[in-house]
């Protein structure tokens, strides 16, 4: 492909090629290839999902009321979000209205999932891109204690506590089993934290590991079964009886009080641990503002958390909906999932076949026909690709576009959309503004890897607030005597029209998620999912426009070409989950990321 310009980036694939495959610490399978110039700056980036996805086709002919149970199985991280999106799609198709309580309980489950997912992402999947675990062994526990107490009133902060943590870590490292800390590029110059900050972060890594299990109990309470909660077209599958007793049967006050106590503990942990850590780590990295990619130009969110049931208009959503294009931050475009001109998927560079590959297809008309062919400039063979040819087809992910634009989705999109609408979203505006002031950086700093990571944390702080509000709303409604949780008027297929179609949306923790369903003679006729990592991780389109991952790597300097820490840091900041944008299978025996420099 040589050299060309697109979306304000100058792509040049003539330099040294670095291949990272697979990108570890993500759910799923992702490979990236970049070209470095003579100064080790990334001048071309190629992101590819290396596995075929085909959830849509196995749903054909099945009962629409069961689709959620299948979609829940695509992926191990957004389980509940897929299920929620699926029941919303079916409800939309069949014009089923859900009770107020059902909406609120779904909101609580969705917010709870955000908090869990964001926290686990920050501490267990992403922190190690910023935190040098081995350096924590050099820390002075006393100075660590001073540091911790200077940023938060969290009680676990004594010198003795940090000394214990350090000893545990030491034992772990000395036993040679670095465990979850394997595969780190420890000592790489791209790590900027002093040893004490590293030790504090390791301590909180362990605390978060212990705490995360408490968070998900909310799902067990409302969803019954765990780890795969139950969902229901028409509402939620849990009855409520405030006077009841015990831990089984209808939800009673005892269990609602447990929900309340978990919500309070989430708030405490997020406000006293997560946010202070984020700001502390951010303050050491605020000079490293690479990785913005498309975020300063094109952002998309479908919005979520409807305040009132059955109203999915933008004004009723507590997480904002909208699209920003071409960097025009003063113009927020409305988004409609059913408009055939808005969301379209392209396959010119994807391993699928369309009749005309210069045209995109709206998900209602989506086609998923595989076509695995390699371009003439591929190096290697079909079973052992050394270098992909990005001039041809090169990914199992399709390239979705909004009105023809490649978009970034995720917490950064949601927080920027909220920040830009202070009247409608004063809490989001306040959180973002506060963080920018604390770090003393301009708004443009948001458009970076660090900004993406910060947005996720700030969103978590917003979600714990919403979680409390939604809980109060639920209690008020229950106490007013409304115990209804499900509408089964249209449960029987005999009440359905002969043909129907609908779209369901959520904001998954990692971004906009849509399911589109066509029902014919009471069975699923077509089902399409466009998942967040398809938006972010998709390849080029027929015009050569690059996707969000690819754009985010552009122009980033890499300290050591054979230790692509900067690449991982930026990709992880999206919280990618390839398991559902492709499927859940990885190649034999591949334990370590291989990095090839050619």
């Amino acid at each position: 492909m040589g050299v060309y310009e697109t979306q304000g980036f100058k792509l040049d694939n003539t330099g040294k090629r670095v291949v990272v495959d697979p990108v570890c610490r993500i759910e799923g399978h992702l490979r990236v290839e970049v070209n470095l110039d003579s100064n080790n700056v990334i001048r071309n980036a190629v992101s590819t999902g290396t596995m075929w996805r085909g959830l849509e086709v196995i749903l054909k002919g099945r009962d629409p009321r069961d689709a959620w149970a299948f979609t829940e199985r695509i992926c191990g991280v957004c389980t509940g979000t897929h299920a929620l999106t699926s029941v919303r799609a079916v409800e939309d198709a069949l014009a089923i209205r859900i009770p107020e309580n059902a909406n609120t309980i779904r909101n609580l489950m969705q917010l709870n999932l955000y908090i869990h997912d964001h926290l686990v992402h920050f501490y267990h999947l992403h922190a190690l891109d910023w935190v040098d675990v081995v350096s924590a062994l050099q820390a002075d526990p006393k100075a660590t204690s001073t540091l911790a107490q200077s940023i938060s009133s969290w009680p676990l902060s004594s010198p003795g506590y940090f000394r214990d943590i350090q000893n545990r870590l030491k034992k772990f490292v000395e036993s040679g089993q670095l465990g979850p800390f394997m595969n780190g590029y420890w000592g790489n110059p791209a790590y900027k934290l002093p040893p004490e900050a590293n030790l504090m972060a390791v301590a909180h890594y362990l605390e978060a590991l212990d705490f995360q299990k408490e968070i998900v109990k909310v799902h067990t309470i409302f969803g019954g079964k765990n780890p795969h909660p139950n969902w229901l077209v028409g509402g939620v599958p849990c009855a409520i009886n405030l006077e009841g007793t015990g831990a089984v049967g209808a939800i009673n006050m005892e269990r609602l009080n447990l929900v309340k106590s978990i919500i309070d503990r989430c708030t405490e942990f997020v406000e006293q641990v997560y946010i202070p850590d984020l700001l502390a780590i951010g303050s050491f990295y605020k000079g490293w503002l690479h990785g913005g990619g498309l975020s300063s130009k094109n952002l998309l969110s479908y919005g979520d958390i409807p305040q009132l049931a059955n109203d999915y208009s933008a004004a009723n959503l507590l997480l904002p909906r909208g699209a920003i294009i071409n960097g025009k931050l003063d113009e927020i475009h409305p988004v409609d999932l059913k408009d055939p001109e808005q969301i379209q998927e392209f396959v010119a560079h994807s391993w699928y076949k369309y009749p005309d590959e210069t045209q995109g297809l709206h998900p209602f008309d989506g086609v998923t026909e595989p076509n695995f062919v390699l371009g003439p400039n591929t190096k290697g063979t079909k079973t052992n690709i050394k270098e992909l040819d990005e001039g041809a087809k090169y990914s199992w992910i399709k390239a979705p576009r909004w009105r023809g634009h490649a978009m970034e989705v995720g917490p950064l999109a949601r927080m920027v959309l909220g920040y830009l609408q202070p009247k409608a979203y004063p809490e989001i505006h306040g959180l973002v503004d506060g963080a920018l002031k604390h770090l003393d950086v301009p708004v443009t700093a948001l458009f970076s890897t660090l900004g993406r990571t910060a947005a996720r944390g700030l969103e978590t702080a917003y979600c714990v607030k919403l979680q409390s509000q939604q809980f109060d709303k639920l209690m008020a409604n229950l106490k007013a005597g409304d115990l209804n949780t499900a509408n089964i008027e249209k449960w029987e297929p005999s009440t359905w029209p002969k043909e129907a179609q609908g779209a369901g949306f959520t904001e998954a923790p990692r971004g906009a998620l849509g399911h589109w369903i066509r029902i014919k003679d009471t069975k699923i006729d077509n089902y399409q999912c466009v998942v967040p990592t398809t938006w972010n991780g998709g390849p080029r389109d027929h015009k050569g426009q690059i996707g969000a991952f690819e754009a985010s790597l552009m122009d980033t300097p890499v300290a050591k070409a054979d230790e692509p820490l900067e690449i991982l840091r930026t990709l992880h900041s999206f919280d990618p989950c390839l398991a559902c944008s492709t499927h859940v299978m990885s190649p034999d025996g591949q334990e370590m990321t291989s990095v090839k420099v050619r």
Binding site: I58, A69, R73, P180, K225, P227, S586
Partner: protein, 204 residues
């Protein structure tokens, strides 16, 4: 003394043919047998860290899974103790194993790895059949696998008895094996193959 807390976990993605072995085993165990209250049977699917709390709480953990040991398809193996985490990570054929190995490491890091670990694994025949179910050689090993598990449970002081009434299903009814197999769309409508798993296979 309180009885040992026991977790019987089936893991894997049931949408991928023999990958569903673990989940199908725990589903079948639950359908035919009942156990004392200290035993939890769980369909773990492909959930990673979500499973950690259940693992941390257990004194004894028994896992059913499809594992690539390099054996003949359908071969059953029992792996015990320290060997379990190593086997889970030896040859990862699926993402859920990466996730589950992480769960075991996290349990260890927090000092809460179950004292007894058992993995009952089958060598899969076919994974590349999206929407498909267990192959015959693998399905035939469900009964022997269940017997091995029942022996362990008995050893751990939690012998099972045959169920007298119908059990509450562990997986959602829509995914129960009969419905799952019976309602599968025909191959001409629903492409079934995985990709060639080409990248990395011969990476050298």
């Amino acid at each position: 003394m309180n009885p040992k807390k026991i977790l019987v976990l089936g893991i894997g993605n049931l949408l991928w043919a023999d990958e569903g072995f673990g989940v199908r085993c725990v589903e079948a165990l639950n359908a035919s047998w009942q156990f004392p209250p200290q035993v939890t049977l769980m369909d773990g699917g492909t959930q990673g860290l979500y499973l950690l709390p259940y693992v941390q709480e257990a004194d004894c953990l028994l896992v059913f899974d499809a594992v690539d040991y390099g054996d003949t398809p359908g071969d059953l193996r029992e792996v015990v103790g320290d060997q379990v985490p190593r086997f889970m990570g030896a040859k990862k054929m699926s993402l859920h194993q990466t996730g589950f190995q992480e769960v075991l490491m996290a349990a260890e890091l927090t000092g809460k790895l179950p004292a007894e670990l058992v993995l009952i694994g089958v060598q899969p025949e076919e994974l590349e059949d999206f929407g498909g179910s267990l192959r015959d050689v693998v399905k035939a090993q469900m009964a022997p696998a269940l017997n091995l598990a029942l022996d362990w449970l008995e050893r751990w002081g939690a012998a099972g008895r045959l169920r007298e009434s119908e059990a509450e299903a562990i997986t959602d009814a829509a995914l129960a094996i009969d419905l799952y197999e019976g309602e599968r769309p025909p191959a001409d409508q629903a492409y079934r193959l995985g990709d060639a798993r080409f990248l990395n296979l011969e990476a050298a």
